[in-house]
Amino acid sequence: MTVENFTKLGAAEIASSVRAGDASPSDMVRASFERAREIGAGPDALNIYLHSDEKASVEEAAAVEKRLGNAADGGILAGVPVAIKDNIASLGLPTTCASKILAGYVSPFEATAITRLRANGALIVAKTNMDEFAMGSSTENSAFGPTRNPHDVRCVPGGSSGGSAAAVAAGITPLALGSETGGSVRQPAAFCGVVGVKPTYGRVSRYGLVAFASSLDQIGVLGRTVNDAALGLESIAGFDKMDSTSSDEPVPIYRSSALGGPAPDTRSPATEAIRVGRTPIPAAPPPNATTLEGVVIGKPKEYFPESLDASIRDLCERSLDRLRSMGATVRDISLPRSPLAIPVYYILAPAEASSNLARFDGVRYGLRVDPGKGLKAMYAATRSQGFGPEVTRRVLLGTYVLSAGYYDAYYKKAQAVRTLITDDFRSVFSSGVNAIFTPTTPTTAFPVGAISDPYEMYLNDIFTVTANLAGVPAMSIPIGRVRRLPVGGQIITAHFDEYTMFRVAYALEAALGPEAHQ
């Protein structure tokens, strides 16, 4: 297996080769580490990886190989190297959330999402860089230095899952896990030219995801293709008793959506055979005039403002034309409260963060700074030296909006407006719209250090944050390039209707073909 060949393989292809005995998990892991060295994933270049252990990964691959033997049931991710955002608890490798306050911390338990990846045959090869505690949109807020965009090293990869998006874009792993609170999978996916999925709130267990804002946090998937992202989400989705907000809604085979039509019965033996990789999914026919017949796509005017970059608008219009050419109807819609989403989010998320991050106090985890002046002084010294500027800013902002005298004006008001934003989505989907299409971000990747004003940075999330507030699923797929930098198109569907979201994404990806990366 040459490195060049490896970077061209998707997760689905790797898994089917491994299951067929044509490739070994060890070869895949070695090729992944070789690619990481070649592209410069370390701190002196792209700074994508925070923690990895090649020797341990190769040993783990050998153990998987031994367990597999010649079994065809190796799992739908048999032998697939996967990178994990550093705020998802893993065994063996540290979990630091890219923060000094958790430097060196190794979790004694593992996130359910990672356990499920391993159960499906995946191999965890690294923990990826991110904005500290997932607070940021550029991966510049990491205590361990910024990650660089593989498409242009002068630019950011987006954030906060910038390391995971860059790992996939650079061909180091075909699949990675990230997390979202306001767009932290979709925005870096758009900036790096890969596919990024945020599932419905409750679709994927949050057990083992270090909490930032618990009512918004979700683990998401990044892949180079829609099919790999679907495969990744299938692997980790589903009820988990360890997360009280986890849903018991059945998980469809998202890959079947490429074939059109309704989702197959999740309880049938045939579906189960596909789920575990025993039966392959038939190849989807090329897109034609009936691929999306009957599908209504909403185009919300609030996400196409006059100020939108004309080149990004043109690429969105091209995508909408492709959707029409496959039989979809595009309908102008309105999500009138969406312009309020940034103020709402930057009240609610910091409020929840100020509570969740109270646990990092110098007693239970990592860093401890004791100036010898009592308990309160130890807390303050530890937290001040352990947290970076953006985390400090958000903890203070959250404490302020929750404090006496300001709670009603800020927190309670923001909760009420969040309900109105959610109502907007419900109203659109109950009016016959099946999916909403928007740009993922208002700009392409910007240069490292270009944005210093905190609120200007927050505006990067302007098109993504509403899906988190409403809890609906959303994904970003590549739809073209502007000045050589990738642009993402966003598809949003109703709660737990990831199936339709993937159906539209598969069709658009096929219709755009190479244009998605030109």
């Binding site: 203070l396 008001k413 309900t419």
Partner: protein
């Protein structure tokens, strides 16, 4: 609603964050600027919205409030620095010699 320097020092104390003089001045400006963008919410009519703190998603029903033990890779003793009677022993604060004498 502009944030004052006193506000910043007060919330920093509540949040157990040490903020020194120059940083307090910077944070006063930053938080005031951010909160100025939030004022738009005061103009939104929310009188018809019932109090809700949930995320409004169907499919997450209430369940019995039963504790589930964490799925640890190995026993607590194997990763805690020290334990006694089922409790973790944390490093003593530099100023807590008196607690040691009282047996706390």
């Amino acid at each position: 609603m502009a944030v004052t320097r006193e506000d910043v020092l007060h919330i920093a104390d509540l949040a157990r964050l040490g903020v020194d003089g120059p940083r307090a001045d910077e944070l006063t400006k930053e938080l005031s600027a951010i909160l100025a963008h939030m004022e738009v919410l005061s103009q939104v009519d929310t009188s018809a919205v019932s109090g809700s703190t949930g995320v409004g998603v169907e499919g997450t029903p209430l369940r019995p409030d039963v504790g589930v033990p964490p799925l640890l890779e190995s026993a607590l003793e194997s990763f805690a620095p020290a334990m006694r009677d089922g409790f973790f022993i944390v490093p003593r604060l530099a100023t807590h010699e008196d607690s040691a004498e009282s047996g706390a």
